[in-house]
Symmetry: C2
């Protein structure tokens, strides 16, 4: 039940997801009494799909990770253990990213050949969607990790967005070979030498992402996190400015026109809520990260991502590609 | 005449700037014959304000910086020398950022107490504008540099945007003290201890920038560069999607309505062209960096920034604040 918004937001999100997918069985890890109270105002057709697992302890956002992951009865750890035990198919959490990543890595295990998992998400572009990783799991990354991200991103893009041979770019502050950081130069050279494994297009810049120049954009977790949050902020700022500018009747009519046509409006196309629900790529099981500050609709989208991803199994393809890259690079 | 777009774009930009400010005297450093040919199609009222300085050599974008800055007759070096000699009041260039920064630092000199200059630019927000720095001059930054950025950003924001006590934030991937990189934690602690020098609000995240939560956002040059370019890309992507969606007559009318009201439209508010023209903060003289790929209108805006900034003199205020911060931190 990890989120900054409290259990009522999550319960509301589950009820939204239930409406769309009545076949989902929800296992809720958190304080049973609070959850029960929240559920009491919902219909039994929904609450019957909720199975409660009492976990009064939880990990806070400012907790030291090394300490947080040692606690045995936190909702996050118990939920991850249920995935590891095969009791549930996957987990969605909006809790402390560092602790979540550390615990998921320990309990769910990484795919052989993966140094550390990465957080991947979809980013809406002018021409469709692109996969961006890492979004914050690995603050600094080695060239080897960036190559792994490229391979995992490729599989994610192909299997989820049905892109045959996704174009992979490494995020940098210029397209020239000498721009940016040393670890990027090394990853750039390695990826150039893997034509059979990835369709590598070279360095890309920030403006290339929203324009959809690449299908997969590889970066360290610090840069990726700032990038996606800036994009979200722009989405919110535009909505705010748009609202303020809606003074005249004509503009108001237009906005209503936009919002009344599902998925056709400009605001909707770049709506941050649409891309809530990031995946921990590189783990043997399904773990989805929601933003801690996501609304019920946002959290429901993260559940939707989990539902869709549960139909795939990337692990083996990623493993095969990692083996192929290793033999080609050595 | 440094830009990716060739001299015709710059000449067009100068002619636009001339229309607004007929008092500007333009000193053009580049291949005289090419510039003369370009100027021949313009009215003498404009061309009479252009003074040519022949510099056939230029620095390319993929040139090794250490080599580029040793060449004595490049247009960039000659133009900077003219600033250093007091022949002109300032310089605007869209050339190789690394070489420009290195040469500007050598020839124009830094303000005492400044480790290295930073590139600062304005970022449009939902509520106004914020100053973002560094935009790409310093790929990795020490805590001391980040503190200097905060002080320089404060002066820039106050003197240029008339904000009395600008709220300063350090860009991170979370607001908690333990989030992000060690150099950010150290800068965070130092800034907390400078209440008389800066109005420090703590860590800010990517989404806080477009929402206008801070007046000055401090970050390393890699993150800053990716952030501003992503924002520009979103601006372009929105324009592209908007154009595609303009199928119906009603929407077309609305767009025309937006664009006909100066500064009132949504597209205009977040128009990337509006914030072309970044400043090298921390130098003793005025040096403006334009994007290499800027249009004539964009380059004209960079000239506009130079024109405005020429009315101020930050150097002494920055120097005073740096001295104050040093005594308070020691």
């Amino acid at each position: 039940m990890g989120t900054d918004q409290g259990p009522e937001t999550i319960i509301k999100a589950l009820s939204l997801a239930h409406k769309k997918h009545p076949d989902i069985e929800f296992h809720l890890f958190g304080p049973s009494d609070v959850i029960k109270r929240e559920l009491s105002s919902y219909l039994t057709s929904f609450t019957n799909t909720c199975i409660l697992h009492d976990a009064p302890e939880f990990i806070t956002n400012d907790e030291v990770i090394s300490k947080a992951i040692r606690r045995k009865n936190t909702s996050m750890r118990l939920a991850l253990q249920a995935v590891a035990d095969g009791q549930v198919d996957g987990i969605v959490s909006g809790g402390n990213t560092g602790a979540y990543m550390a615990l998921a890595t320990i309990l769910l295990k990484t795919i052989p050949g993966v140094t550390r998992p990465a957080i991947a998400t979809t980013f809406p572009t002018a021409v469709g969607k692109c996969i961006l990783l890492d979004m914050g799991a690995n603050i600094e990354c080695s060239p080897k990790q960036l190559v792994e991200f490229a391979i995992m991103g490729k599989t994610f893009s192909r299997d989820l967005l049905n892109i045959d041979s996704p174009k992979i770019g490494v995020l940098n502050i210029g397209r020239e070979d000498l721009k940016g950081k040393p670890e990027l130069h090394e990853a750039h050279q390695k990826l150039k030498n893997l034509p059979d494994v990835v369709n590598y297009m070279g360095f890309v810049e920030g403006n290339d992402i929203p324009l959809g120049k690449a299908d997969v954009v590889v970066t360290d977790g610090f840069t990726g996190n700032v990038t996606i949050k800036t994009a979200e902020g722009i989405g919110s700022a535009i909505a705010q400015v748009f609202k303020e500018k809606m003074q005249s009747n004509l503009l108001f009519k237009i906005l209503k026109f936009f919002s009344s046509r599902k998925n056709s409006g400009l605001g909707d196309h770049f709506n941050p809520v649409k891309y809530n629900g990031a995946m921990f790529l590189g783990l043997k099981s399904l773990a989805i990260k929601s933003h801690g500050g996501a609304s019920a609709k946002g959290f429901a989208n993260a559940i939707e991502v989990a539902y869709k991803l549960n139909q795939y199994d990337f692990s083996h393809q990623i493993e095969r590609d990692l083996i192929a890259s290793k033999s080609q690079l050595s």
